[in-house]
Point group: C2
């Protein structure tokens, strides 16, 4: 069978093989990129669905507008305002089938084969593959513990004149890094200076452990004239409420939003109105603040436990910035004391000891740092985290 | 803003303008392509969701496999067998976000810019736009009251060597036509003869009014050696249960299914597990046969009422084959007695008289027949249908 040329640009995920091993009995997994099912507010979701089916069964079960179910767009507009992004009217956003679809629509709408897109190195694996399917040439911008290095980013923008820049500024995947307020402002200013579109992917921003992080790029855009018209913001309920609903959203300038809506019409007509009506009722019921408070507290404890255990068990053989939110610790093997310094080698040894994580290399679109690894603290409880990290110590 | 080149191949739907007029007070609409909300089994769906959340909340709310929620794949396998397509194992299908996404995945997986695809003239509007976004050059195969003309189709296949042929053999949209058993066999035989992939889109096959239609191409493929490996079958719960769930499926040869799954991973990760678990419980509860029986009976009455009224009110100025299933009457203005013979002109006059339908021209990818129109009998009750057709008579 002859497939489309665009499939030559992607390969089956290198970490698929690893994930097959996760079924081994007794494995403690730090490999996933998902929230803990035990924290889903099942009762609240059940109530929300019941209300949706009782109050407007037609709306929840019939075809809907490609742009999204209007009551949900209104709730999301209010949700964004509560997070510090004022002035996002319901019509300034479309509902997407998870934020993965927002990425796909950006690719479909914006990327012609050969177009350049700048992403962080490392960045979200499915972003790399998604954009490559549309023929993008990806350029890697370096990061440190404070997120993307803005001087380097600006030099890359000037050199490559990309179609857009894709960033996860808040508790990035896999980096866990929090882009500083100063750098956020710098990103918006360079967007205006170079008239470059910036895509802010923000699925983790609500999962902070202590003080709230700086405002999103979207929230800050009010203070940088001309930046709002160059900004796309992708949000999601997946990490804070439930991935299974597949409810995300995209905020973008009107012209881009209209084109993305047209593309979405031919991608899946619209996002499940059944899921949208449920999400709308959930937000309307006002349960989100308590849900977020609970999730933040649990993940904060787990992050702390993992950080402490890593210091204790692996000492100076590993280096990392303790995360202030999100789901991940991004770490680097130092090779101190002649210990293993390659993430892939370490991952295989770890599996043999009964613990799994994802080595860092697949998260780079170019020039991978082979010493890196991503550890999720989201799905194992504190005892399991301690036991898993002890096994990591043995594997090292 | 500079958009991707692929957007140059599509235009905003010509019938969007028409749909804006549907909000006019008192309009009777035969324009929609959707089922009647009043027939949704709301109670059954509520029960199914409750069971899904009670029995396996994690499965309904967590991330799931891109291929689909396994209990739903099992139910759909059984559903296909009950409809006469034996031997479709759960692993032979993937769940899609409505059958629209199956079309999108076929485009993404198979179509390189400039590739040829043969479709019926007329065919489903969103198929035309979906494939064009991937750069397909569409070739139009003529139809009559028995569906696609197979001699003409074979000549086009021989001439154009298309990437694939897309057909809606059973109660097509907009044609309403039922492809005869003889022609079905001919299609499968020419697929083997020319080694051409055939895509069977089948959202309406369950909506028959009298006897069941001939088996689907998929069902028949067992009797034509070598045809099964050249066949894709797209199914959907949208027309028979609820479009809002966005649950469709695609059955395809393993190699194609694997590539489509990879593409789906970067399109939306997976279809809402919340909707999938609900659909699985609904099918498992055994409610579908009664739901189908009810829907068939109501639509049969409405189709009959519309056909009778058209004969009575429009006489020999209109020509159509009474549908044996589906949602649509596809008609042709004859111009008899000097009456209007252009579907677009007639549509405008009809709106002035308080009744809406879709003129036929947008359904053609080439060489439109301007005398055609599509009338949906699905969403208006029998009294409204009679009143609406009387208005059509006045408009004529």
């Amino acid at each position: 069978m002859a497939f489309a040329d665009r499939l030559n640009h992607v390969e089956t995920s290198a970490i698929r093989e690893l994930f097959k091993l996760l079924g081994k009995p007794g494995i403690i997994s730090f490999a996933g990129g998902f929230p803990d099912s035990a924290m889903f507010d099942v009762g609240g979701i059940r109530e929300a669905t019941s209300r949706a089916l009782a109050e407007e069964p037609g709306g929840a079960l019939q075809y809907g507008a490609t742009e999204g179910y209007q009551p949900l767009r209104e709730q999301l507009s209010a949700f964004m305002a509560a997070k510090g992004a004022q002035g996002v009217a319901p019509d300034n956003l479309i509902v997407t089938t998870g934020s993965q679809q927002a990425l796909d629509l950006l690719g479909k709408t914006l990327i012609s084969p050969g177009d350049k897109v700048i992403v962080e190195g490392p960045t979200f694996l499915a972003t790399i593959q998604c954009f490559r399917l549309y023929g993008a040439e990806l350029i890697s911008a370096p990061i440190d513990g404070q997120g993307v290095k803005t001087d380097a980013l600006e030099a890359l923008i000037a050199e490559h004149k990309p179609k857009f820049v894709y960033l996860i500024p808040t508790f990035g995947n896999p980096s866990g890094a929090l882009l500083s307020a100063e750098r956020r402002k710098a990103v918006l200013e360079m967007a205006v200076r170079h008239q470059t579109l910036i895509v802010e992917d923000d699925p983790y921003g609500d999962l902070y452990f202590g003080d709230a992080p700086p405002p999103s790029l979207l929230g800050l855009s009010a203070s940088v004239p001309g930046s709002r018209e160059l900004l796309v913001h992708c949000g999601s309920l997946s990490k804070v409420l439930s991935p299974g609903l597949r409810v995300g959203w995209m905020i973008a300038p009107p012209e881009l939003l209209a084109k993305a809506t047209m593309c979405k019409q031919f991608s899946d007509a619209h996002t499940s109105t059944f899921a949208q009506a449920t999400a709308a009722q959930y937000l309307k019921a006002g349960r989100m603040p308590a849900t977020l408070a609970h999730v933040r507290q649990v993940y904060a404890e787990r992050a702390q436990a993992m950080g402490d255990a890593l210091r204790r068990e692996l000492g100076d053989a590993i280096d990392f910035v303790p995360p202030q939110g999100g789901l991940f610790i991004w770490a680097r093997l130092t090779g101190a004391g002649g210990k293993v310094a390659d993430g892939n080698v370490f991952a295989k040894r770890a599996i043999d000891k009964g613990v799994a994580f994802v080595p860092g290399t697949p998260f780079y679109c170019a020039h991978p740092d082979h010493a890196t690894l991503r550890l999720s603290f989201a799905t194992a409880d504190v005892d399991k985290i301690r036991e898993g990290v002890a096994r990591l110590g043995q594997a090292l």
